[in-house]
Amino acid sequence: MSGPSDYQPSNPALQWIERRLPIMGLVHSSFVVYPTPRNLNYWWTFGAILSFMLGMQILTGVILAMHYTPHADLAFKSVELLVRDVNYGWLLRNMHACGASMFFFAVYVHMLRGLYYGSYKEPREVLWILGVIIYLLMMATGFMGYVLPWGQMSFWGATVITNLFSAIPYVGESIVTLLWGGYSVGNPTLNRFFSLHYLLPFLIAGVVVLHVWALHVAGQNNPDGVEPKSEKDTVPFTPHATIKDGFGVACFLLLYAWFIFYMPNYLGDADNYIPANPGVTPPHIVPEWYYLPFYAILRSIPNKLAGVIGMFSAIIILCFLPWLDAAKTRSSKYRPLAKQFFWIFVAVCILLGYLGAQPPEGIYVIAGRVLTVCYFAYFLIVLPLLSRIEKPRPVPNSISEAILAKSGKAVASIAVALVAAGALFVGTLQDARAEGDLKPPSNKWSFSGPFGKFDRGSLQRGLKVYKEVCSNCHSLNYIAFRNLADAGGPGYSVAQAAAFAADYKIKDGPNDAGDMFERPGRTADYFPSPFANEQAAAAANGGKAPPDLSLITKARSYERGFPQFIFDFFTQFQEQGPNYVDAILQGFEEKPPEGVTVPEGTYYNKYFPGHAIKMPKPLSDGQVTYDDGSPATVAQYAHDVTTFLMWTAEPHMEARKRLGFQVFIFLIIFAFLMYFTKKKVWADSH
């Protein structure tokens, strides 16, 4: 993309093509001989990482779309069946869902790198603005993708975000109707979001081509912010940048794989495993983490229209960055003040993200307002002011000179940022959750950790408890009898599963006479529901239908709080759901504590939010007979049935962890090979 190339293929057939379409010359001049600055650091590999992620999202997305049904009644189920029944469907879904987070993580690093090293300055303004457009398209794509599984958070996220547009005077309501295709978020909304979610990534790919084109015209910026002057300042793209990017991507893949195989639900919301219900709002609507800083800005402004304007300007303001920051020196490496403010800005963004996830009350609102002001002040006051008053350090004459004079680290700046972040954090944590709800105790589960496996005996006993107790009220819609014989499950043989199925009466039909009839279950049948429909279930249970249990251990969670949730990432703690279910089953108390009354028709449970649960105490000692000599106690029942329900929520968990281990071994070896190859290639360039 940098002008005509004199590249000539040696093969006559390729020469024939090249004379008519000089595509190999284009690739050769753009990605082989293209000169890149010699001093690029690893922050520059995020461009390649982002291209890789875009390709990954499109590839996994296209395959997922082959199995997905965009209909309000079927979408949730089709996603669940995709995960359970499609070959490696769980892997595809995890790659796509975690991939979105990784894509945003990489784009934030990429943007902050541009901010720090002044990559938006003359002559790269258009390059930067194209980047902001890509980011906006990514946000729209990510939002619409999150709606597709049609869980509670999908539905209510869509409701809240589409309602933002109703704040626009005069045309707001019509715009919202156009987005909905109806009178509220519903099936037409899901259909058009699916269509756009499929379209936008290709638009992104198009703008990425423009972005790379603009990059190759202006040339890459570099950590020292001086333009390459001679051949000594650059190295050819291939093999130098290619191999370095390859190593960067390999390291990034390690992080990505950690999420895919070990923490697939860490960044998601448990509520999204509950099917969308237009009649019930989740108590706490939170967008995906990558939107949180902007959500915090939206909520800090008490006026609706002003909040929406504030949120969008927080992104649009980036387009004006090249003119807001008029400093001649590009790289913050040589700008002592800009460097400090940059790290404070990073801390402000992270804290805004933290606040975006908190309930909008008390100190959080005030902190949100202060930080919103800080966010805008960085662009509107700090940067314009700095370009006038700051005295930058002298920049090196050339890149090769800069490499020779290599020294000085950003330790001091990082310290400033940490202190700023720490101080603000302490400020926001002051409110010290007074209500202090009792948290479920952390149990020991056989399936936790990187090598966790289901305890077969526990699964089989849990199935017995489900069949004899829970199944009187709770359905198990996503589990078929054949699953009982699946690898990584309770370990029954196909014949045992068939015999188990035959005990059930399944409604089938209509037959030739047009009548419905009952027949014995087959392995392909799903566990039948105890009630004909949701209304019947609700009517028989005091007005509230007992939830389906297939996904219950993934659909329930509790706050682990800061800083515990950070440690959880490293210890692979994922067992909030099982802990909660186990605790609920054991949390019933005959008599509520002094001064607490629960409404009629509900029961006191110390772990249930609000403590008044509609379900009566389901288990008592000795209720289910165990054949294998395990203690017939409520604690044991609860443990077994929770283990069973963890399996029903994720039947391929063992496969996920096993494949994860293999992938990690491969990636670590691959990353080392890339590293040593890179060292060899760069040996005489440093």
Binding site: V160, L164, W180, G181, G182, Y183, T281, P302, K304, P360
Partner: protein, 138 residues
């Protein structure tokens, strides 16, 4: 991309029988995919709603203007928070009305915004009394 014919047809008016709703109770019906709260208000709730000076409200509107005269005990509102579209919970909050769990907006027993970020009162859908115990919404 505007609503298609079947969506519009499904949004036709509906009739709701009010006779089973006792005083102090409320029901939630769906119309055009939106929850509609129909409250049978108590004397206390009506008095509270009428005692407030209208000018002091964030979105000034009298209780009389929000109900049908002669049927003052019936409050019919769209149960969608005017802030960002969540569903407020009936019989909660400090004003004997509705409380939105998302961002903490509170509405009184006339569905008027009293506290929180919502800019406007809960909307009153178009409806008429077909008879004393039956309304048509839409």
């Amino acid at each position: 991309m505007n609503p298609d014919a079947s969506t519009i047809a499904a949004g036709a008016p509906i009739e709701v029988d009010l006779s089973p709703v006792a005083e102090g109770q409320d029901i939630k019906v769906f119309w055009r995919g939106k929850p509609i709260y129909i409250s049978h208000r108590t004397k206390k709730q009506i008095d509270e709603a009428r005692a407030v000076p209208v000018a002091s409200l964030p979105d000034p509107q009298s209780d009389e203007a929000r109900v049908k005269s002669g049927h003052d005990q019936w409050l019919v509102v769209i149960g969608i928070c005017t802030h960002l579209g969540c569903i407020p919970i009936a019989h909660e909050g400090n004003y004997d009305g509705f409380f939105c769990p998302c961002h903490g907006s509170q509405y009184d027993s006339s569905g008027r915004i009293r506290q929180g970020p919502a800019p406007a009162n809960l909307a009153v859908p178009p409806y008429t009394f077909v008879s004393d115990t039956k309304i048509q919404i839409g």
